[in-house]
């Protein structure tokens, strides 16, 4: 049997993981997506290493892995949204903290070894994924790759923030991670998106100093680009308002009729810089956000190493994003051929009985998690 893909995504309602599982099966593969690393849904892993001659000569065969890290069985790992196991159904409560810690440390070791097991493809390698989750590390990489990006201040110093805004005028505030507040009385929800700084946001020293925020010069943009890098292939869409007015944060208009999305070409010169950026960050997959100003100059905003991309197949068909991801995972290499996967698409999956049946089984968990997640506060 040929090597198979493994998907590590902790959320059972991860539509991207489910679509990839379907696409890979449609392509004749037998991928794995364990619901947990401890419930028996995947074979337990063992790692072995010795120095072969016992003399400390640097010899030995190196690390050998079995189970869900088997060198001979797993050709690619989509490290999408892994999570340390925290549910142990047959354990007593007193043991759970110990079990969680041991699993966390074990996985940290596995991920730190990275390529030591084999030359299999990680999408993305854990250490690189972890680093690239940091927006400031992204900007530093962009700077080294000579990508243009907006001047950025990260601060909880009220004086510095006000000086930055006074100097640059139109400035965007954004948090590190989106958060939602729910009004306990009305049920209304309020969410953080990138937003132009207004005077009321700068009025209170304590409000500004309570936690750091990201303040970034607003790009007087004509449109946004969402560039999905899947291995060596780049897929680019242009997001603009039908009226010609720019969006501060296009994500807030995902459902709005004024959002116009179309597939477009990525200039070779800019593509080269983005390839450098991904190499610098050690990524083989990423959803890159770029703002293009009225002069046509591109400004890098961020790269989401575990970003969302299948919605683009619905907004701007035909984009073979699901097929590309399946082909890369099937081949276990970044210079894959699209022919390595069947002609699958996300809209086809979303309309399938397979999707309906899967969704019925997981939507309850999503609804439960959405009521208790750290992303939501009840006021």
């Amino acid at each position: 049997m040929s090597k198979q893909p493994l998907i590590l995504s902790a959320r059972p309602y991860d539509v991207h993981a489910a679509a990839a599982m379907w696409g890979l099966r449609q392509s004749g593969l037998a991928p794995s997506w364990p619901s947990s690393l401890v419930d028996g849904s995947v074979p337990p892993v063992s790692l072995y290493c010795d120095d072969s001659d016992g003399e400390g000569s640097g010899g030995g065969a190196g690390w050998k892995a079995s189970g869900w890290l088997d060198d001979g069985a797993i050709g690619s790992i989509w490290f999408r949204r892994a999570h340390t196991p925290d549910v142990f159904p047959r354990a007593i409560d007193a043991d759970v903290p110990f079990l969680r810690t041991e699993w966390a440390r074990f996985l940290r070791n596995v991920y730190a070894l990275g390529d030591a097991f084999s030359d299999r493809l990680w999408v993305n390698r854990p250490a690189s994924a972890n680093r690239a989750e940091n927006k400031l590390a992204q900007l530093e990489a962009a700077r080294r790759c000579r990508l243009r990006f907006p001047a950025t201040l990260v601060s909880h110093d009220p004086d510095q923030i006000r000086r930055f805004v006074a100097r640059h005028g139109r400035v965007v505030y954004k948090p590190f991670v989106p958060h939602t507040w729910e009004d306990g009385a009305t049920g209304k929800r309020f969410g953080t998106f990138a937003r132009l700084v207004e005077p009321t946001m700068l009025a209170d020293d304590e409000s500004l100093s309570l936690c750091p925020g990201i303040y970034q010069v607003y790009v007087e943009k004509k449109y946004d680009l969402r560039i999905v890098a899947i291995g060596d292939r780049f897929f680019t869409v242009r997001l603009a308002s039908r009226s010609g007015a720019a969006f501060v944060d296009w994500r807030a208009y995902t459902f709005a009729p004024e959002l116009h999305v179309e597939v477009c070409a990525l200039p070779d010169r800019y593509r080269g810089k983005l390839e450098s950026l991904l190499r610098e960050l050690g990524l083989v997959f990423g959803c890159i956000d770029v703002a293009v100003d009225v002069d046509g100059d591109a400004h890098f905003l961020e790269v989401n190493q575990a970003g969302q991309f299948l919605f683009l197949e619905e907004l701007a068909p035909p984009l073979p994003l699901l097929r590309a991801m399946c082909a890369m995972l099937a081949c276990g290499r970044t210079d894959y051929s699209l022919e390595a996967a069947a002609d699958v698409s996300y809209p086809t999956y979303a309309a399938s009985e397979a999707h309906r049946a899967w969704w019925e089984g997981v939507r309850g968990q999503l609804e439960a998690d959405n009521r208790s997640g750290a992303w939501l506060s009840i006021e």
């Binding site: 309602y13 539509v15 679509a19 949204r81 892994a82 999570h83 340390t84 966390a104 996985l107 991920y111 854990p126 250490a127 994924a129 972890n130 989750e133 505030y173 948090p175 989106p178 958060h179 939602t180 507040w181 009004d183 009385a185 209304k188 929800r189 309020f190 969410g191 953080t192 998106f193 009321t200 209170d204 304590e206 409000s207 309570l210 936690c211 925020g213 994500r251 807030a252 995902t254 459902f255 989401n304 575990a306 970003g307 969302q308 991309f309 299948l310 919605f311 619905e314 996300y346 979303a350 999707h355 969704w359 939507r363 999503l366 609804e367 959405n370 997640g373 750290a374 992303w375 006021e379």
Partner: protein
């Protein structure tokens, strides 16, 4: 607590600038956050920035 109170919290409390900057979500955005079938969008708790990535590295 109402939206207005983000700017006018109780006398001895303070709200972060992130809460003051937050805007009311549309019904469709709330639906995404609440569990409709299509959650491949970049927004919401399962969007680009999952609320608890826990990469364990």
């Amino acid at each position: 607590m109402s939206h207005d109170s983000a700017n006018h919290p109780a006398q001895d409390k303070v709200r972060p600038v992130g809460r003051i900057a937050a805007r009311e979500l549309s019904a469709e955005e709330v639906a995404i956050a609440g569990g409709v079938a299509n959650t491949t969008h970049a927004t919401g708790p399962n969007g680009d920035d999952p609320s608890d990535p826990d990469l364990a590295v």
